[in-house]
């Protein structure tokens, strides 16, 4: 149903005909197609994909961190937030896109795609941040309060920094998840690395686009994860020390 609805907006990326020998020979992967279409197809798709991911992760981070901070002080909030975010997390992505599409004002837009992507980040980042805050040792909290830190100072100077490893771990999983799911979101807004993949699926023979774009999504996920690992090492130098 959705595929049919999305069908007409899928453009043809094949370059209009059999311009390369490997394309004509119907080999699985055609490097000359990749180099020829890099500037017109793959590079824009990659940039869109990064944009989609950054927006979704940033919004998801703000929402889940805010919820975690509130649930840290008001315990009763934890359960309802977990229930809602778990449901969002377990809805199959295709179904969620389908559900959002008919909502007035959303339709086949980037907003729809972002709403869906954000909803998949919430559970992971909420749970990780809350766990990180709760795992601050009680003696550390007691010493800080006993030396005259108010609740805000305690949060900013002690609790959040100590929760950073858990927060960044959540950010890593969320980012990789979004990079992967954003390919499916192309069904909605027809952008990102999912677009060439979908066009390759529509094309029954030629698979180079799928392999190239799919490979780029994998590399993008690995690189994003690597950047976050470096960020964590930078921000939490104490975690690498031992006697």
């Amino acid at each position: 149903m959705l595929l049919l609805a999305a069908g007409p907006v899928i453009p043809t990326f094949g370059g209009g005909g059999s311009s390369f020998s490997c394309e004509r020979a119907n080999r699985l992967f055609c490097p000359s197609w990749v180099s020829h279409n890099w500037g017109s197809v793959l590079w824009p798709a990659l940039r869109q994909h990064v944009e989609l991911t950054l927006i979704a992760v940033a919004i998801g981070f703000v929402i889940s961190t805010t919820l975690a901070l509130i649930a840290y002080r008001r315990r009763w909030l934890e359960r309802p937030v977990l229930v809602v975010t778990s449901i969002l997390y377990t809805i199959p992505s295709l179904a969620l896109f389908e559900l959002l599409e008919p909502v007035p004002g959303l339709g086949l837009s980037r907003t729809t795609a972002e709403i869906a992507l954000v909803s998949y980040t919430l559970l992971i980042m909420f749970r990780n941040t809350l766990t990180g805050l709760r795992e601050v040792p009680p003696d550390v909290r007691d010493a800080a309060a006993g030396m005259g830190m108010g609740p805000l100072q305690l949060l900013l100077r002690i609790e959040l920094p100590l929760a950073l490893p858990a927060i960044i771990a959540g950010l890593r999983i969320a980012t990789v998840t979004v990079i992967s799911l954003a390919t499916v979101a192309s069904l909605i807004d027809n952008e990102g690395l999912g677009a060439p993949i979908l066009s390759a699926i529509a094309n029954e023979v030629f698979k180079t686009e799928l392999i190239a774009a799919g490979g780029m999504a994998v590399v993008l996920a690995l690189m994003a994860d690597g950047v976050l690992v470096l960020l964590q090492r930078r921000l939490t130098p104490w975690t690498r020390t031992a006697i």
């Binding site: 040792p137 006993g146 030396m147 005259g148 950073l164 130098p237 104490w238 031992a242 006697i243």
Partner: protein
Amino acid sequence: MPTPNSAQTEGPSAYRQAASLELRHVSKRYEGQREPAITDLSFSVPAGEVCVLVGPSGSGKTTAMRLINRMIPLSGGDILLGERSVLEREPNELRREIGYVIQQIGLFPHQTVAENIATVPRLLGWERSRTRARVDELLELIGMDPQEIGPRYPAQLSGGQRQRVGVARALAADPPLMLMDEPFGAIDPINRARLQEEFLRLQARVRKTVVFVTHDIDEAIKMGDKIAILRQGGALAQYDTPAEILTNPADEFVAEFVGADRALKRLGLATLHDVELMARDGAVVAGQVALSATIKDALSKLLAEGGKPLEVVDDGGTPAGIVTLELLGGLLS
């Protein structure tokens, strides 16, 4: 031993006067509990003295300590720090003026040793250069090299080092009062004895008013100028000097708590300096004992040598006389 109002005004950074502390009919009752945690507790600690709160578990000694810096709210009575009620003070402001050391130490694992020590100065908004100078000074005071230890993280320190840093952190803003909750409780016996000695030497220099909580009567006897023994329900059983408590326990509970060996413990309070030694006169001795040894240790060594006399020598190794079982036995009566 520190005397009342003897807080020194000079020292590594011209220490502020220590403040006197007075508990007046303090009580604490937790909601939903029938028995009070603290019952009508009154005692006063002169400035610059170490007061040890000791008692069995459930006697409310930690609760009593935490009432002082308002980590636990009072139910009744009043606490005066330097003649001013703690109830008049804004709690966080009050706490920045009171050094705080807990058993698990609670160093901040994500901050270096120097940053940990700088906690209260930073909260008080000291200038950077003043804070840095103070941190270096404190590290030197506890016998650590600021260049070497300052940039380390707590995970890179031994248990004893962490404990010292905890004390330095509590001393950072020169508080007139220190609260210490079983500060050596998690340290092995050998290092504990060393840290106790070190703390007494440090205290002789900084002369803070100290409230020290322990469940260990031997530690209380060693560390306290005064000891407050608490019983179940947080009532004061006796408040006095260690010697007086060992000599004249107020009641059965105190006598039992200080132990059947209280006569021996009392011998641990004095050294051979306090004994009139006998001349050697060519007597055969089984070994040597230092003049600075406690009478208890000397007695123990005499017993180990089968009761044969021991030669007493001073720090320079010069003989000062001999000590015998009969001589020390005479002190017990």
